[in-house]
């Protein structure tokens, strides 16, 4: 049971890190960026490919993986979101364009096989792979009846520090003030002399970099990297997390992430492994029906 609670905290950290970026975009833009789970997968895939196929050191591969994810955020903004804002399309249009981009990203990785067009990026096709042991130091400790793997334990401080930094930036810096202004009212923000388009591009870059990092951590700790890790693990769970915490609230997403981790592990213990998937969605459905503003929605006066 203690081991299970520990697992809940590991997986909760990844959910939280993923959902923070998701909710940031919703808070600033009122748009669900459905390409976020594809960016999560891309970060892991690029890192794995650099380590295994191109022989780079793990930490270099991580930095490149995060950078590629951040650039993908810019592509999301310039290809899927900005043209629609210019044409004053309804928010539902952004759902479709980001889904289109997600389809492309997943298909590119999926088709990456030796001899195909994308073999420089990925050679394992639709298979699930793991970092070879020794890529990064991964000692295992036994404390009582608990098993602690360094790769999993490291996730907790990394994600907590990053989320704290993000919280600090949003709350206390000039950039954060700009982001909050755009989230509150883009028109007024523009009238105050803010470059709204630039703020939105920045939001996408931050959000995608965090999403890509979450993917790398997921791939490193759970040893599962495939074109479908985004779709299968975080796409809809991410929605559940941001709904639990209140849509558009960054602290809410952090709490929601850990909460979902705990809920899933409790379901696993109480009902068995087959119920794990359904429980997240049942929680999502109940939360929206009973308390659509999320756990803290009413208490948080400001957005993001």
């Amino acid at each position: 049971m203690d081991q299970q609670i520990l697992n809940a905290i590991f997986i909760g950290s990844i959910y939280a890190l993923f959902a923070v970026g998701y909710t940031l975009v919703f808070g600033v833009l009122d748009i669900l960026n459905l390409a976020h789970s594809a960016v999560f997968m891309l970060g892991a895939a690029v890192t794995y490919s650099l380590v295994v196929n191109h022989g780079q050191a793990f930490w270099i591969a991580c930095i490149v993986g995060i950078a590629v994810s951040a650039v993908m955020g810019l592509i999301i903004e310039y290809v899927c979101l900005r043209p629609l804002r210019r044409r004053k399309a309804p928010p539902i249009a952004a759902l479709i364009s980001t889904i289109g981009l997600a389809l492309i990203i997943v298909a590119v990785i999926e088709q990456g096989q030796t001899g195909s067009l994308f073999s420089w990026l990925w050679v394992d096709g639709a298979n699930s792979v793991a970092f070879p042991s020794g890529t990064f130091p991964n000692p295992t400790w036994h404390v009582g009846d608990l098993t602690l793997e360094a790769a999993k334990v490291a996730i907790i401080p990394i994600s907590i520090v990053l989320m704290a930094v993000l919280g600090y930036v949003i709350r206390y810096t000039q950039v954060g003030r700009g982001l909050r202004a755009v989230a509150e009212n883009p028109r007024a923000a523009r009238l105050m002399g803010l470059d709204v388009d630039r703020m939105i591009a920045l939001t996408l870059v931050i959000s995608s970099a965090l999403g890509g990092l979450a993917g790398i951590l997921f791939g490193a700790a759970l040893g599962d990297i495939s074109p479908y890790i985004g779709r299968d693990n975080v796409e809809v769970r991410g929605l559940a997390v941001i709904v639990l915490g209140g849509m558009g609230s960054v602290p809410g997403a952090v709490v929601g992430g850990y909460l979902l981790g705990v809920i899933e592990v409790l379901a696993l213990v109480a009902l068995g492994s087959s119920a794990r998937g359904g429980v997240a969605f049942a929680a999502l459905f109940l939360m929206l029906v009973l308390r659509p503003q999320g756990l803290f929605g009413a208490q948080l006066r400001e957005r993001i």
Binding site: V79, L95, I96, V243, A282
Partner: protein, 306 residues
Amino acid sequence: MDFFVQLFTDPVAFWNSHTLLIAQIGINSIVASSMFIVLYSGQLSLAAPGFMAIGAYTSVLMDLYWHTPLALNIATGVLLAGVMGVLVGLPVLRLRGVFLAIATIGFIEALRLGVILNLPITGEGLGLKTIDSDPLNGIYLVLVCLAVVLFLVWRLTKGRLGAAWAAIRQDELAALSQGIHVARYKMIAFVLSAILAGFAGALEAHLQTFVDPGDQQYGVTRAVQVLSFAVLGGSGNFVGPVVGALVVTSLPWIFVQALNYINIVTGLFLIAVIVFRPQGIVGRGGLAIIRPWWWPRRNVRASSPG
């Protein structure tokens, strides 16, 4: 391009060699009409695949265990989907916009992962195989059903219901102040769409002779696909979603040489249409898009509620 060459030079051979594609387009068009009704009343509901699953499983299970006639099976499936529509609609219809979309995603995935994959009677992850059905016989049935559904949807949107839905879509508060019972009309739209989706699901199960509980069939992937039918075709007119279903469903056959990269083509196509024509391929004008220049123009302002 063989696809178009054959379509125009030898329609009979095209019909014979693409029967399953045509039937699938018919089914998808019915689901797209179900999506259209909710969108037309201003609700972004993605619940269609859930109701399809209910229609499909009910109908196939009755066939397997009781050997009742096909019409009765499908009717029961449709009825159950409608009842579920009421049960789900009661709590979720208070939500608006993307919140409603997320709640309905929660519903379909909780149904698929929580219920269908855990009940022994549904075959769990393996799905169900139907005993007696002939897809080649089914195609005429599907096309007739599609014609009836389209006629009904067209009449509904032109009538009192359609006017109320359009009013609610444009401004819920204004509609309320005009004495329109908003909650009731929203519920009617949601249940009608559940019924259509259940119908399409039951038809599809018998056509494919197999019920597969996968994500592509009754999960988020399918919900997104159905949404793309409606948004790509244009949701201002009942023709739009059908055109969207036609285009999206036949894309893999049109680009058959690039079959490995079909998702890349589909993704590029989705982005291109939504960026360059946000109102959809058909837009608000409906069939007016294919109106020849010499055909008299109707007074659009008087007739179009959108």
